[in-house]
């Protein structure tokens, strides 16, 4: 086949996941016929969930956001990943006609190989060094264009990774895709002199070699054009609301008795609710159920709704304790 593929390299200077993902989607719209773009980007302190995943289930999103982290949802499938500036993301955005997974992977495998690391592609779409994963890959395709993207762990904070990617204690029955845990490794652990910069250079040269192209490297930071996409990626509706429907159950024992809260969530809204309690009278239970129905699964709204309830002083105290408890659970 003749080589009429045109190549382009774009590096993002932003560490904001919403910006970077918005720009990735923008590239998918704009990629030209017979063109392949290698887009390199990094996010700081971010958890990215797969398109069909449930952030409440996959990570301790509440704690993570409180500690200054950002939650993001990508377009591609697959599981949840933690990003910081010790991690490099690559995206091959291309005209679907020239999609060739093996060739794209060769870019990655050769790049790390040139840095002295022997790697292989696993059946689970991971790239492994020995038996440990340092890169996870996922895919999204449209009518004419598609992308293949992945992470490369160079020097990521493994303590944070394992701290936040912990499934919540609440019982959640989810309809979406669940993550599969893997043993991961930083490339730096395998070879001490590897840095993000060296890896970038190596990726760029193996990309040009394999696609027989050359071009300048374009750097992007803020673009007005992607404002709308940025709004989408940073919105609660996208990050949380796009979760496939799920059931979540919270149980807590207070000094005055137990409360067992069962929620059915759809589009991030409380679609149905059942409360069991040995301490509350049934009218109060009904009132709480009635108020919370069709509320966003977001503490600020839940708080407001709970404040609407008219009841006696002792019951007010119960509600405020429930609020305090839920605040520690729901983002």
């Amino acid at each position: 086949m003749q080589n009429n593929i045109s190549t382009k390299i774009i590096c993002s200077k932003s560490y904001d996941p919403w910006h970077n993902l918005a720009f990735e989607e923008y590239l998918l719209e704009k990629v030209k016929e017979n063109e392949i773009i290698l887009y390199l980007w990094q996010n700081n302190n971010t958890i990215v969930v797969g398109r069909n995943q449930n952030p409440w289930k996959e990570c301790r999103c509440k704690d993570f956001e409180e500690d200054g982290g950002k939650i993001a949802r990508r377009l591609s499938g697959g599981g949840t990943v933690f990003h910081d500036i010790g991690n490099l993301n690559f995206t091959f955005v291309m005209d679907k006609k020239i999609y060739d997974l093996e060739k794209q992977l060769r870019v990655i495998l050769e790049a790390v190989n040139n840095l002295g690391i022997e790697a292989k592609f696993s059946g689970r779409n991971d790239i492994l060094a020995g038996e440990r994963k340092f890169s996870g890959n996922a895919f999204y395709e449209k009518e004419k264009s598609s992308y293949h993207h992945g992470t490369i762990l160079v020097d990521a904070n493994m303590d944070k990774l394992s701290k936040y990617l912990k499934v919540s204690k609440e019982k959640i029955a989810s309809k979406g895709i669940e993550s599969v845990r893997s043993r991961v490794v930083n490339l730096k652990t395998l070879k001490e002199d590897i840095t993000i910069e060296k890896l970038k250079e190596s990726l760029i040269s193996s990309f040009f070699e394999i696609y027989k192209g050359e071009s300048n490297i374009e750097y992007v930071e803020d673009k007005k054009i992607i404002e709308d996409l940025y709004k989408k990626y940073s919105s609660w509706g996208w990050k949380y609301g796009e979760t496939p429907k799920f059931d979540i159950n919270f149980i807590n024992r207070f000094t005055w008795g137990e409360i067992d809260l069962n929620l059915n969530l759809k589009d991030g809204m409380i679609d149905s609710i059942v409360i069991y309690s040995d301490a509350m009278n049934s009218i109060l239970i009904k009132d709480i159920e009635y108020e919370l129905l069709n509320t966003s699964f977001k503490m600020e709204f839940i708080s407001k709704k709970l404040d609407n309830i008219n009841c006696k002083i002792d019951e007010k105290n119960m509600i405020s304790e429930i609020k305090k408890w839920l605040k520690s659970k729901i983002g």
Binding site: G77, D95, K97, D100, A138, E143
Partner: protein, 568 residues
Amino acid sequence: MIEIKLEQLSGESKSGNIGKINVKIGDEIKTGDILLQVESQKGNVSVKSNASGIVEKIVIDEGDRINIGDVLFEIDGVQNEECTKKTGGFNYFNTLMKPQKKEIEVDITIIGAGPGGYVAAIYAAKQGKKVVVIEKEHVGGTCLNHGCIPTKALVRSSEIYRNIKKADSFGIFAENISVDMKKVINRKDKIKNQLKSGIEYLFEKHEIEKLDGNGKIVDENTVFVKANRTETTINTKDIIIATGSETSTVPIKGIDSKNVLTSKEALNMTSLPKKLVIVGGGVIGMEFAFIYESFGVEVFVVEYADEILASLDEDVCDEITEIAKENGIKLYTGSKVEAIDETENGESIVSFIKDGESKYISCDKVLVAVGRQPYFEGLGIEELGIEMHQNKKGIQINEKMQTNIPNIYAIGDVTNILQLAHVASHQGMVAVDNILGKVKNIDYSAVPSAIFTEPEIAVVGITEKIAREKGVEIEIGKFPMSANGKALTLGDAKGFVKIIKNKSTGKIIGSTIIGPHATDLLSSVTLCINNGLTTEQITETIFAHPTTSESIHEAALNVEGGAIHFAE
């Protein structure tokens, strides 16, 4: 009504999981709107609408596993022709993708994930075997997708409708009752999908690998599958063929005309015909006859044999024939269908010969239910020299489920011994036991079968007919449901329990029950037969009052000197 189907998945995947569904019933959608997300092997695609209109029905649910070609939505509106064609880019992409070649080593390869194959897979995996299952369509096979389960969902809807129609006899009054076939079918699909996900889950839990595609046996230790973007060569110690059966057709003129349905299509029919002719009065035909009759369709059954459900004993045939007629089902037995002709106004005319005379029925739909035949297309059994039955229908096996090639086993409908899901499952377990080195022979002497007419019919062991053919000396014990208190309270006091006793051994060797919940009653009799109990031992057992199972006790008493609550 336009159906929107899943046309494409990420990469070369053939099945995926549904993520977010972005539309609700009643939403107005336009061509190009994103309807839902489907994910397969970490690749996600957004499915766009190729039609505009109102969403009438959502066939799938978030979290469901679906295959390419499955229906996702029904839209009341218009289809955009251009969008339905795959883009040129995609095809080009297809040809560019080199298939990935893969080789795997397993203990057992099972071809087909129906009730035979999937049960064998789980049973073998539980005992530590590495198992791979090959399925070209859906897990659960015919039984779950186009047979037992979906028909029972319809039977239940029809039963509820029937009960409400006669509610006044119970002192209950209801007005303006009606059937919404769309909802009936929707309910059936939900049940089906739930069960399918259940099997997929069990596969996952037991680490059973499922390959989507057609399997071809290359030699006794190699099976080849083209699945997703991979061509897999399986090196296997043993092979179980569980490819099932397909709908049989008969060479009748006009059998392909547009008003003719098979049972598979009937199960997705969302509007009721006014008049329906069913060709074939066997189990499938009669179950549908009772379903549609209950829904208010005028039903005609045309059967070649002299009886409907001809394998049953005469007294059972008589009983169900009478009940069918009372319900208004028109039966034409001993009748040979000659042709199905389309009329100018879009209806059909079924012509047949009964007693040398030509007869005609006009109708708007024709359901052909003339049975099922073994399916083994592309499997490679001719090349391998796997032996068939003498009549060439079905793979020949021994009592251990082995074919003439000792490490290739066959189970279920493809063996054409007894076309029953539970026989396939049991055969699967027998095959696995033999593979594991436990010597097990199958015993077909106490196979139960269930017919979901109204009332139900259940048979286990041998019938009077077969006993006579075999020259076994028997005694018959019978008890009518009309003498059973519980049956009377149900308002369904039709039918009877019949018990067949071997005169020389005193053992119960067969039973037929026709009556309310007959199929549920049968299991205790099956246990008796399988364990060689005598009818006397049954009489010595205490049966709970008030239950319909007392009639089993009474039938046993009847053969041991006389029933308590009945005098002839």
